[in-house]
Amino acid sequence: MPIVVFHKGGQTYTEEVKENTNLVVRAGIKQFPYPHLRYECGMGKCAKCACRVLAGAEHLPPVNWKEKKQLGDRIEQGYRLACQLWLNSDIELVQDQE
């Protein structure tokens, strides 16, 4: 099962999750990475859930059209929208403070 390492505000949170996990879905039912992961619309429109992937990006699906639209140049810096990602392998990501 994938291990998720999530950094936010200088803190690190780590947990094993089930295969095919979406972190925004998890946060939506108040499970890890709740309450640390910021998100809002859950539909790839607001980009509040944007995170920079530090490790494991190579296992993610290609950037989709919503991510291209919302993230623009930030994609080159490694940003992805957490709401658009179903995780099947280990990943390490950081979310900027607002």
């Binding site: 979406n22 039912i29 859950g42």
Partner: protein
């Protein structure tokens, strides 16, 4: 004699109750998946679907009001679902109308209740009746677990087809894309409420029953779409089904 199930057993039982009458088996869904529907057929689908899913926040609103104050987290989950359905991002029904317009119909036709079939009216009425009259936990099982939680698996199959076989653009099919994420959250919230609060044998059995009925209602609805709008042009044998 049924026994009280633990959370894992109960979740599996709920999932099985939903699978039994999946709408994926209806001729309309099969024709959709095979790319055999015309844009006119899809327009009729959108004109009906609007009246089923459009009032979803209304259904949940009735349910929210009847859920006991002590079920704070359950109420918060329902409220979050309502917010996300309507104003968390784009209004979901606006995206449905965008798809409908791409199929050649108009906003005016979509929102006009005279354009839904009697069966769609029946499904909508059933949703209102469940929201207003059932035990709130049983109602969550019927509407959120039984109906809403099915949506991601359905749309996960239908969305690539809409792009690849029907030639719609990403923006035109956004209604389907967003539901893969948001309805997964909503469905999971529904499961959490039901698993937490259906804590007697009787409540668990009623939840299972209403999931079965919800799946039957959805199958009835999609089957009627085929009968009302498609049957004259695409026969059952053309879909590999017995006439």
């Amino acid at each position: 004699m049924a026994e009280l199930m633990n959370r894992d057993e109960f979740r599996t039982a709920l999932e099985n109750a939903i699978k039994g009458k999946s709408a994926n088996a209806s001729p309309f869904s099969i024709a959709w998946a095979e790319g055999k529907l015309s844009r006119e057929h899809l327009a009729r689908w959108a004109e009906n679907h609007y009246h089923y899913v459009g009032p979803f926040a209304d259904y949940l609103g009735y349910l929210y009001a009847r859920t006991p104050d002590s079920y704070t987290e359950a109420k918060d989950f329902l409220l979050a679902n309502m917010y996300e359905e309507e104003i968390g991002g784009d209004r979901h029904t606006d995206l449905l109308i965008r798809f409908a317009e791409a199929c050649g119909t108009t906003r005016e036709r979509v929102v006009d209740p005279d354009n839904m079939s009697p069966t769609t009216r029946g499904l909508q009425s059933w949703c209102y009746a469940v929201a207003m009259r059932e035990d709130p936990i049983v109602a969550v099982a019927g509407l959120v677990v039984g109906l809403e939680s099915q949506v991601p698996s359905i749309y996960r199959k239908q969305t690539p087809t809409l792009r690849e076989k029907y030639g719609f653009t990403d923006e035109e099919v956004e209604f389907f894309d967003l539901h893969i994420v948001s309805d997964e959250i909503h469905g999971e919230r529904g499961y959490q409420i039901v698993l937490e609060h259906a804590n007697t044998v009787e409540l668990q059995q009623r939840c299972l029953k209403i999931c079965e009925i919800g799946a039957q209602m959805r199958l009835l609805y999609t089957t009627a779409l085929y009968n009302d709008y498609v049957q004259k042009e695409i026969s059952l044998p053309e879909l590999g089904l017995a006439a």
